[in-house]
Amino acid sequence: MAVLCAAPRASGAQQSTGAPTSPLSAFDSAKAEALLRTRVPCLGCHAIGGTGGRSAPDLTHVASRRSADYIRAMVTDPARALPGTTMPRVPMPASMRELLIAYLSAGATPGALLVSSPRAADSSLRTGASLYARYCAACHGERGTGDGPNARYLPVRPAMHADPVAMSARSDDRLFDAVHGGGYPLGRNAMMPAFGETLTRQEIWQLVRHMRTLCGCAGPAWSRPAPAPSINPTPLRR
């Protein structure tokens, strides 16, 4: 991948209130870029320097458009900073989050956070289909064919949830885990975000059930819920 963006600007920008944004070393900038490429999902939706998805605002010059506090708030808890956003909160070590915030906000004016509202409370009413349309379809396609409008900007084709062959080999738990934890912990592409800190567990199971309707298939036999025991198990003894 080419260099992701121009190096963070020098720290000579006028500061207003709050802590000034400190410049990152060249190494820290390079490390942040490496993490953006391989560890965190930001570039799945956002582009930086021409690389990345197009389903969310371009971050190349985000520091010139947004205050440092806004950037911090969005990276830390997007739903709180911008109620109604589809951007998930990404789990990561605190030091990594600080590095990415510093990288994205280098040169930004501190400024006060403008928006602070409680999280939207209607999520439990949403169906699997509507959740899929809202959070998944941009990449995976409305019908799970892996060709959503954002897909062509991604380095690998998003999973095709409508493919019964591939989906029959994946357990429901695996689908849940992928939505919950994102691509990184499962060894898949890190641009698939984790929704475990954004959606409820019930919502994620709704998404899994919807994916099963898209493929018209079930997971492998070993992964399906067990029918009632056919014999009386002997109580285990220590």
Partner: protein, 763 residues
């Protein structure tokens, strides 16, 4: 397909020569700065490290907490009292007292281990040996049971045993001390893992080994690599402007590169090249797969069968089908536990190590575990990472590692693999069949199948290979370790002409695998083809293409390929199948033409299998070729001398052995062989002196004890002969002839009778 046709070509086409390589080591000892330099800027990481098991892995005896007091209370053997004590100046030592011998004092120069392992920690001690190596002492401490033990593996094969008053000192395999720190081909060794920046080289001018160890703890640079450039950049103020901080950032490595940092020590590995230091390419210096050739450290599913490390995680689905790396669960600075997103966890039993990835299971624990939530049996690691006692160690000393293959409990399968299933850890009274019925009743559905390549190995068991089973072993899913194990099995059946299974379809599959990105897989496939069909033009074209394809990076492939062929030669020679051994060694030299070890082993095979003078002359010529480049030639000179003696040139043989003794005063085989010539030519006092010199260098050289017995009997010193044969029997009590001789000598001494026949030397 390329390999059809069986034409044997009279003149084999030469394979491409190695491409000139730059030096493979990019690290020098002077590049390391020591942990203290890191503390200035990285105080938090340094503080965490000092409390960690790496930070407390070893050190000098006054600074490392000891698991036993050196208070003068002796360790009692049947034939020795070993007294650990602290003497004036704070020196820690063992004094070994044996009847008829002067007490021997061994200074404790270092302590290795602190008993940190949850599955049974141990602590060992090292001392500077006169030859310049640093060697482990045989007396070690265990936590469970608490006390002294020693490793009897190389003597009685009983594993690790508590030291008792009925045990002779020589029951300890490390008596006399033979395990050296660092990679020393001549000795059993611990590679570079019981210390930091461990280097051992034979210094031909000083005629002894030179050992450097930065620390017996595992320090910062053991993982991060050398810090000199980093410190220079930081000190110069250029760091802020440089993307290069003088060392690689470990946090952004992919899962394999990240795991290799840990596999420097937490893995079985075979040395390809000497001289590795942290920061060098691990893959260039070591193979992490070829330890499976000629050995079965793992069951087919990866679980420890003899002795292994946490490299077994490469068999796990979490690694193979997920992204699991060591640092997902282990904080590298503190060695405490954390989840995949870096959140600290309170301990090794915490479920979040698993549920931070397997989140689907977090809210239906009981449904998944069939154990009450919160109970010991409901913990993820209780079923999926049970502690497995290492079988090679035996059962007397607790030494178990958490199973990093992260299996699903399959009690019947586990039992068939020789592994205690996780279920049996708690439900010890139930049979494997009963446990398996219980699991079946719970799941009541098809169970998750084993990986197909593992299943093929299980199905084959110990049966002989056929074309069908060979293809099954090589087919299947993308499981590198199972594939390496399968290829190792195939290679092991080659070399002795047992190639019936290697028909064209199998050969075609081997050709496919010869292009595998895993260097061990490719090397094994190429070695198999080379061994089985290396005389055929079509095969040679495949071999040549592989070498050409590797280009300037052919060294890593060649070293692995040569290692497999060399191993095959060793195995054939061990079975006295010398023509097959010679063929394998010659093929190895086609691939690694400058490998001295292979060249010397080729000469040994020619010598030991010689049927005429020409064979011996050829062997002698090979030894001389090796000596032109051998930096530590004593052993090669010993072997040359044996060939010269076999050819009838005793004068030349003696000159070679004297030369060996001069170049390495610590080499016992030089005086031993000089003694043999003296014995057969009737120069008895010279023989006695030579054998005693050999035994001073290696008291466990059993043939020297027995030959000394012969020499002493011939001189009429029956009492000395009796002592000598008893000393030999202490190390080899199974020698029936020697036992009878000892009885006879005893009787002769009592009755004042004359000499008798003595047992011949056994090498």
């Amino acid at each position: 397909m390329l390999l059809v046709g069986r034409r044997r070509d009279a003149g084999a086409d030469p394979l491409p020569a190695p491409i000139g390589h730059a030096p493979i080591s990019i690290v020098a000892r002077a590049d390391f700065v020591g942990a203290a330099r890191c503390a200035n800027c990285h105080a938090a990481e340094f503080a965490a490290w000092t409390r960690s098991t790496h930070g407390r892995a070893g050190g000098s005896p006054g600074t490392v907490p000891l698991l036993a007091k050196f208070d003068g209370r002796p360790i009692r053997f049947r034939d020795a009292l070993v007294t650990p004590s602290v003497v004036a100046g704070g020196r820690y030592q063992f004094v070994i007292a044996q009847e008829g011998r002067a007490p021997l004092t061994l200074v404790v120069d270092g302590v290795v281990g602190g008993g940190h392992m949850a599955g049974g920690g141990t602590q060992g001690f090292v001392t500077h040996h006169p030859d310049g190596t640093i060697r482990f002492l045989p007396f070690e401490l265990s936590r469970t049971p608490a006390g002294w033990f020693c490793n009897t593996g190389s003597r009685s094969g009983a594993g690790w045993q508590p030291i008792t008053a009925s045990m002779p000192l020589a029951a300890c395999g490390d008596w006399p001390p033979v395990r050296a720190l660092g990679d020393v081909a001549r000795f059993a060794n611990c590679q570079g893992c019981h210390g930091s920046q461990v280097e051992v080289q034979f210094d031909s001018s000083a005629r002894r080994y030179r050992t450097n160890v930065a620390s017996l703890a595992i320090n910062c640079e053991s993982c991060h690599g050398p810090g000199r450039r980093h410190v220079e950049l930081a000190s110069s103020g250029r760091m802020a402007r440089s993307k290069d901080i003088g060392m690689p950032p470990l946090a952004t490595l992919d899962k394999d590169a990240s795991s290799r940092v840990c596999y420097q020590c937490h893995a079985l590995k075979d040395q390809l090249q000497p001289g590795y230091l942290a920061g060098d390419s691990l893959e260039r210096f070591y193979s992490l797969g070829l330890a499976l050739v000629g050995d079965r450290p793992h069951a087919p599913d990866g679980r420890v069968r003899t002795f292994a490390y946490q490299e077994t995680q490469r068999f796990s689905e979490c690694y193979r089908k997920g992204g699991m790396r060591c640092t997902d669960c282990h904080d590298p600075h503190s060695q405490t536990y954390r989840d995949v997103n870096g959140a600290a966890l309170p301990g090794r039993l915490d479920d979040r190590q698993c549920t931070s990835c397997h989140a689907s299971l977090a809210d239906r624990v009981e449904e998944h575990t069939h154990h009450r939530v919160g109970s010991a049996g409901s913990r993820c690691v209780a079923c999926h990472m049970p502690y497995l006692q290492h079988p090679e160690v035996g059962g007397a000393i607790r030494y178990a590692r958490s199973d990093h293959t992260i299996p699903i409990p399959r009690p019947a399968h586990d039992s068939a693999m020789g592994v205690r299933s996780a279920c049996a850890t708690c439900h010890a009274g139930m049979s494997a069949a009963a446990l398996d019925r219980q699991v079946a009743a719970w799941t009541n559905r098809p169970r998750k199948p084993l990986a197909s390549s593992v299943a093929a190995q299980v199905a084959l068991g110990t049966s002989s290979l056929t074309s069908t089973s060979a293809l099954a072993l090589l087919a299947g899913d993308d499981h590198d370790m199972a594939r390496i194990a399968a290829l190792a099995r195939l290679v092991e059946s080659l070399g002795a002409g047992d190639n019936g299974w290697l028909d064209d379809p199998v050969a075609a599959r081997l050709v496919q695998l010869s292009d595998n990105p895993h260097p061990d897989v490719a090397a094994l496939a190429l070695a198999a083809l080379h061994l089985a069909r290396g005389e055929q033009s079509a095969t040679r074209r495949v071999l040549a293409r592989a070498l050409t394809r590797a280009g300037a990076n052919d060294g890593a492939l060649r070293d692995r390929w040569g290692l497999v062929l060399g191993y095959t030669g060793d195995r054939m020679a061990g079975q006295r199948q010398y023509p097959a051994a010679i063929a394998a060694y010659r093929k190895a030299l086609e691939i690694v033409p400058t490998n001295l070890r292979v060249l010397v082993n080729l000469a040994n095979a020619k010598r030991d299998g010689a049927t005429d003078a020409a064979d011996l002359a050829s062997a002698i010529a090979d030894y001389r070729r090796a000596l032109q480049r051998d930096p530590a030639p004593a052993l090669t000179l010993v072997n040359l001398g044996i060939a010269q003696a076999a050819a009838g040139d005793t004068t030349a043989a003696l000159a070679s052995w004297r030369d060996a003794a001069r170049r390495d005063p610590g080499e016992p085989l030089a005086p031993f062989n000089i003694g043999n010539v003296a014995l057969v030519t009737g120069h008895l006092s010279e023989a006695v002196a030579a054998y005693r010199m050999a035994l001073e260098r290696d008291p466990s050289l059993v043939p020297a004890h027995f030959n000394l017995t012969r020499a002493l009997v011939a001189t009429g010193d029956n009492a000395g002969a009796l002592r000598a044969i008893r000393n030999g029997l202490a190390f080899d009590s199974s020698n029936v002839e020697a036992r009878q001789m000892a009885v006879q000598l005893q009787r002769m001494i009592q009755t004042g009778a004359g000499a008798t026949r003595v047992p011949s030397a056994r090498r």
